[in-house]
């Protein structure tokens, strides 16, 4: 970043500049990125010298919007933060809200939360494994894995009624029960998925071209991971056994044994293994939870007003640790909700890993963190020259909006 700007020119003005350091834009619209986000890649030949991200293309103002909705309504809105780990978002949010209330969530609801959260983990990990195949130019793996992903989506649909946005978590409980008749189906399907995970591990271990693309690519050391505060499968692949499910059990994780999968290499290959192994452990956890599920009610009726106070909850979303902070002033509407998504925590690590890799590794390494830019984007202002940082409150946003859309109106 400290380099003078003149030495860096856009590539493509002919033969002369190829030998020097040049800029190849990666995004905001790019086949490897499913969401718009811009990365300036500075290349010397094929090697990446520097990466400068420009985030914020899919900022949606969800946190602000939460301050205009009731506590329950927000559950469904935060679920829509992400189309993949939707249940994780709603779960983290309702847990934060439950922290402010004196009610005890029914045991059965906690078990159902665990089952759906683990199904979602299987779904998310399968999705990533398939996409990695696509990014590495192995479309057959992509299609096969995504075909298996349909199984888990169907299962989620059978439980919640929806494939993507489950709308299952609610404050002090869950909205839908898992009937006994469905238990067999869940166990059978998840067992099948675990078998498929073993099958894909076989492919990943033996397919030479895939090995060449993933082994010793984007190696993350444990110290770097700690220094840059990486979360989720990324750190577990680097050898650190950090997992909120085991470290600070929520839902029914205290009762259900969870094996924390770790590898020591830290490269993309070990990430593949961690994620595929986590599919197996998730399947085991679901199996156990379904057999041990207690009876009783699945939700409590609670008043719309939440007692005043602040609470933060964290859960292990499929991509890593997900934080939700809520602040209540005792009314039916939250005063402040703040989400910290795993993608935001992992992005500095991904950018660090990219340096020194080749252009061909960009899609593989950048997306090794399983980025979800739509979840990540927040609004804040930074002035690089004076190192000043600030954010806008509601009134400033309102003024900006009025100025932007009604320039003739006086405020």
């Amino acid at each position: 970043m400290a380099e003078p700007k003149e030495t860096r020119k856009e590539a493509g003005a002919g033969l002369v500049q190829y030998s020097t350091e040049n800029l190849v834009p990666f995004g905001p619209i790019h086949p490897a990125l499913k969401e718009p986000e811009y990365f300036k890649l500075y290349l010397r030949g094929e090697t990446i010298v520097d990466v400068i991200p420009r985030i914020g293309y899919v900022h949606r103002g969800l946190e602000k919007a939460a301050e205009q909705r009731r506590w329950t309504q927000n559950t469904y809105m935060f679920e829509r933060t992400c189309g993949i780990c939707s249940f994780a978002h709603s779960l983290a949010y309702v847990q934060a809200v439950e922290g402010l209330t004196p009610y005890e969530v029914p045991q059965r609801a906690l078990y159902i939360r665990l089952i759906v959260a683990e199904l979602e983990r299987i779904h998310s990990h399968l999705l990533w494994v398939g996409l990695l195949g696509h990014w590495a130019g192995f479309d057959t793996l992509f299609m096969w894995v995504w075909r298996d992903r349909e199984i888990v989506l169907d299962l989620v649909e059978a439980i919640a009624g929806n494939r993507v946005h489950k709308s299952l978590a609610t404050i002090a409980g869950v909205k839908k029960d898992i009937p006994d008749s469905m238990k067999n189906k869940i166990v059978e399907r998840t067992k099948h998925l675990a078998d498929r995970a073993y099958f894909y591990k076989g492919i990943v271990d033996t397919e030479t071209t895939l090995l060449a693309r993933t082994r010793k690519v984007g190696i993350l050391k444990a110290e770097t991971a700690q220094k840059l505060c990486a979360v989720g499968p990324l750190v577990r692949a680097a050898g650190l056994a950090i997992d909120v499910r085991a470290d600070d059990p929520y839902a029914a994780y205290g009762d259900v044994p969870i094996d924390v999968v770790t590898r020591s290499e830290g490269d993309v290959f070990s990430l593949l293994h961690v994620r595929l192994d986590e599919i197996v452990t998730a399947a085991n956890a679901i199996d156990y939870a379904v057999s041990q599920m207690p009876g009783g009610p699945i939700r409590l009726k609670i008043p719309p007003n939440i007692p005043a106070g602040e609470y933060a909850s964290h859960i292990e979303a499929p991509r890593g640790e997900l934080f939700y902070f809520v602040k209540s002033n005792g009314t039916a509407i939250p005063e402040r909700v703040k989400a910290r998504t795993p993608t935001l925590a992992n992005l500095p690590t991904a950018l660090e890993l990219l340096k020194g890799q080749t252009m061909a590794d960009v899609p593989v390494v950048l997306t090794a963190i399983d980025p979800c830019f739509g979840c990540m984007d927040r609004l804040s202002f930074v002035d690089l020259d004076s190192q000043k940082q600030w954010s806008w409150g509601g009134e400033e946003l309102r003024q900006y909006g009025i100025k932007r859309y009604f320039p003739e109106r006086k405020t």
Binding site: A11, G12, A13, G14, V24, W135, T140, A212, A360
Partner: protein
């Protein structure tokens, strides 16, 4: 004269090649789709067989956008120059008999030149469109070309050395007792792998890697130019596979009836069957692998395929000396 013109334009020249190109593109998409658990093209024609033609026509209708910073002259001319290479090369491949449409004493060298020429034209047109992605792609193209060309040419020359001929027709004629592949199986393998790199099929689709550099050297092309480039890729497959058939699988040779017309039909049928085997091999291989990095591809060609091709050449020379 009239017969030659018909041969060059209708069969086994231009239109025949084009038709095969369309057919093979459909086959590739269908096979890849079925291997991946999809259905592939389905709408245009029975089982979607007309899809490649429909795609071509659609592209011809599309608006053509020339980037402001492109070298317009080259950008305009290069696609048709590129199209020339496989069409011209196809005339040297014997299809309906031992004789090809065009042939001369050393046409194998001309074919090697054509392969180099088409790679050169792609680099030129890639630079001419002058965007960051095409610039990276042209760097990759050059490196990939110098990687695969050496084993490819050695494999081709091996067939020539064994047949004591440097013309395709001569090589085909020399295989009337036994196909070259029996003596040079590794030469055939090297040729097919190098051909996949020439055709930019996975795992060697590095210069047009979608998830890395958008569409590689094709990024800035649209409309008619893109249609032409895509068509050339299809025809190149026919040409390359035809070359493999002629050099290693005995070309159109096989037991034929004495009647001249029936013999031509039989020759064509043999040629098509062998061609089909080669392209099926390529299609199955391409669906089963991930894309390599350019450095890995170079390493593979130089460290593994080139020694293999050289060993095959040495073996063939010793065999011929005995």
């Amino acid at each position: 004269m009239l017969i030659e013109a018909i041969e060059a334009i209708l069969f086994p020249g231009f239109l025949f090649t084009l038709g095969l190109g369309f057919l093979f593109e459909w086959l590739e998409r269908k096979i890849a789709a079925h291997m991946q658990g999809r259905v592939g093209p389905l709408v245009a024609g029975p089982h979607g067989i007309l899809q490649p033609i429909a795609d071509l026509l659609k592209l011809l209708y599309k608006e053509e956008i020339v980037p402001g910073f492109a070298d317009v002259t080259i950008y305009r001319i290069a696609p048709s120059l590129y199209f020339l290479a496989p069409i011209l090369g196809m005339l040297f491949i014997p299809v309906a008999g031992i004789r090809a449409v065009a042939t001369f004493d050393m046409d194998l060298l001309f074919i090697i030149f054509l392969l180099a020429y088409s790679a050169f034209v792609v680099v030129i047109l890639s630079f001419a469109s002058a965007s960051p992605y095409t610039t990276v792609a042209s760097g990759r193209l050059v490196l990939q070309y110098v990687s695969y060309e050496i084993p490819l040419v050695i494999a081709m020359v091996t067939a020539g050395v064994f047949s004591h001929s440097l013309s395709i027709a001569g090589i085909v004629e020399a295989q009337s007792t036994a196909w070259n592949i029996l003596y040079m199986p590794f030469g055939f393998v090297v040729f097919i792998v190098a051909l996949m790199a020439e055709l930019e099929k996975p795992p060697f689709d590095i210069p047009s890697a979608k998830t890395e550099i958008v569409a590689g050297w094709l990024t800035e092309f649209s409309g008619r130019a893109l249609a032409f480039l895509k068509l050339t890729k299809e025809v190149s497959l026919v040409f390359g596979a035809g070359l493999a058939v002629s050099l290693f699988l005995g070309g159109p040779l096989g037991p034929v009836p004495t009647d001249q017309i029936l013999a031509s039909v039989a020759y064509t049928a043999y040629f098509l069957v062998k061609l089909l085997v080669v392209v099926l091999l390529i299609f199955v291989l391409r669906s089963a692998m991930a894309r390599l990095r350019i450095a890995q591809a170079s390493e593979f060609f130089w460290k593994i395929l080139t020694p293999l091709a050289l060993a095959q050449l040495a073996f063939v020379i010793i065999l011929g000396g005995m």
